[in-house]
């Protein structure tokens, strides 16, 4: 290879080298190479993350924010370093605006239970969209039930895009919160977050964004978007399970009552009166997932090293290629055809139930999700009990898309 050809390699996306970083990708299932296309459910972990978690237990494990001893200090530093990495990833203004939680689900519940309980009254409204994951529906539903508030739902179009005009009409002086996904897990739609923030703020409402699917797939800048809250999960961005991030603007977090009571969230305790700790610890009662939190930092290092813009471009290419390949199958219908999509391809086959698609693809070594994707209202909207869903990660290849298309043809041969 000549030097001239070699030059662009510095910036080329070397997917084969990335794949070698993920030990599980060399696995064979049922004698076939694993084709992992279930990244929207959870992503696989690079060796650096696995190694980081192991290293915590071998070299620097103790409880954090407590001890004066060597191990505790080192564990605390490493854990807090992850918080700073999460801040940098989201371009938040302050590190203490990053609250560690168990995952996106807990982040929604935290805001609904603390901010919601303090600020939502009978007759108030929470506005969500028709494409939300159950975890961005149910916590608000519970809050509304408790408070006598109303849950309003902005409809989606046949393409899977949110009907922005309808959303704007649903904003009223009683709307306290607009809670939306950044990227739909069931349809792949990317929502115009900045535009929705503009509308919501003009109506006097705050905005919570479920970024579980977006953060692993595109650069996110919470200040540029103007959001009030933003949440994502470690396990979908190549980190361990049981760790997640809630970002909130400091003045809003400051005014919120605490979440759970316990250790670490207090400043002083007596039987008469307890004063609460400062941000973010006010919301972090109890010993957290220390090793997971530290390894989460390694995952953020990893995606930062690869570069989220480059990951976004790579997955965009895969999605476009997959959309084209699968559209060539006459019996197949793609569910979710928004102009702005990322990472997720939902589909159904005429006369074949998604569950049967999943079983046959599985025996070909291909992991896809089948079911309602924890978004039953989306399925109802499209009149489907379920779909099959392929979702991409930074390590997927065009060859794997070819394997998927081949697997779908096998399904059709079997059932038709």
């Amino acid at each position: 290879m000549s030097t001239a050809l070699r030059e662009p390699r510095a910036s080329a996306y070397d997917v084969e080298s990335i794949r070698r970083d993920f030990p599980i990708l060399s696995l064979q299932v049922y004698g076939k190479p694993l084709v992992y296309l279930d990244n929207a459910a959870s992503a696989q972990k690079p060796a650096s993350v696995i190694e980081a978690e192991r290293e915590v237990y071998e070299r620097c494990y103790a409880n954090i924010h407590r001890g004066v001893h060597y191990l505790s200090v080192h564990a605390t530093d490493a854990y807090d370093a992850s918080r700073e990495k999460a801040r940098a990833l989201l371009n938040a203004a302050e590190t203490h605006e990053i609250v560690f939680v168990r995952g996106t689900t807990e982040a929604v519940n935290l805001v609904a239970q603390t901010w919601g309980r303090a600020n939502v009254r009978a007759g108030d409204e929470i506005l969500i969209t028709a494409l939300e994951h159950h975890s961005n529906i149910v916590p608000w539903q519970m809050l509304c039930e408790e408070k006598g508030a109303r849950l309003a739902v902005a409809p989606i179009l046949d393409s899977g895009e949110v009907d922005i005009e309808a959303l704007a009409r649903l904003l009223t002086p009683r709307t306290r919160m607009v809670s939306i996904a950044h990227l739909s897990n069931a349809l792949g739609t990317v929502l115009p977050v900045a535009r929705i923030v503009e509308l919501a703020h003009a109506a006097g409402a705050l905005v919570f964004v479920d970024g579980a699917q977006a953060v692993p797939r595109m650069p996110v800048d919470v200040r540029a978007l103007g959001v009030d809250f933003y949440a994502f999960s470690s396990h979908k961005i190549y980190g361990p399970t049981g760790v997640g991030v809630l970002y909130g603007r400091a003045e809003i977090l400051d005014a919120m009552p605490p979440y759970q009571g316990g250790g670490d969230m207090i400043r002083s305790v007596s039987f008469e009166k307890t004063t609460y700790n400062s941000l973010p610890y006010k919301f972090e009662a109890g010993t957290p997932n220390i090793a997971g939190g530290i390894a989460f930092g390694a995952a953020l290092d990893y995606v930062t090293r690869v570069g989220l813009s480059r990951i976004e471009a790579h997955e965009h290419d895969l999605l476009a290629y997959a959309t084209e390949s699968l559209s060539a199958i006459p019996e197949l219908r793609i569910v979710g055809t928004a102009r702005e999509k990322a990472g997720v391809l939902s589909f159904v086959l005429d006369g074949v139930h998604p569950h049967d698609i999943g079983t046959v693809l599985d025996r070909e070594g291909i992991a896809v999700r089948t079911g309602h994707h924890c978004a039953q209202p989306v399925m109802d909207r499209f009149g489907l009990p379920a779909t099959a869903r392929a979702s991409f990660g930074l390590y997927n290849t065009r060859e794997e898309v070819d394997a998927l298309a081949g697997g779908i043809r096998t399904v059709l041969r079997m059932f038709r």
Binding site: T105, A212, H355, D356, T359, G371, Q376, M379
Partner: protein, 160 residues
Amino acid sequence: MSDLRDLYQEVILDHSKKPRNFRSMTDPDSRAEGYNPLCGDRETVFVDMDGDVVKDVSFQGAGCAISTASASMMTESVKGRTRAEAESLFERFHDLIVGKDSPGESPDLGKLAVFSGVREYPVRVKCATLPWHTLKAALAQNGATVSTESEGPNAESGGA
């Protein structure tokens, strides 16, 4: 592919494409709804009794190949049986597909033995048993919706 054919046997594919007794009843003696949250499938089973004997049984709903074929073959095999016989048949069918009995041990299952391949696919057990659970509820005349979630592993409880 050979092991997939153990699951999707020709008889099963045939019943899934052309389900028998796939109709509703206008005035059944009892009916019950079945729901499998794993795949979102819903099924209704209708029963007409003659004393203690299942005079007619039918079903409606959308399901996967396994649950549709299971419902179809169930209706064929319980028609004309007593309530107790139908329930005992379900027990033996259940033992077969969870791998408690080998196919040879249940000769009286008749055609239902084609579901023995399901034992190799634990996540699909619920698909095969959904119609039976629903029938059982209809026979018990409690009219409630039954869910597959009391059974087996891999209940869908979250994720994305």
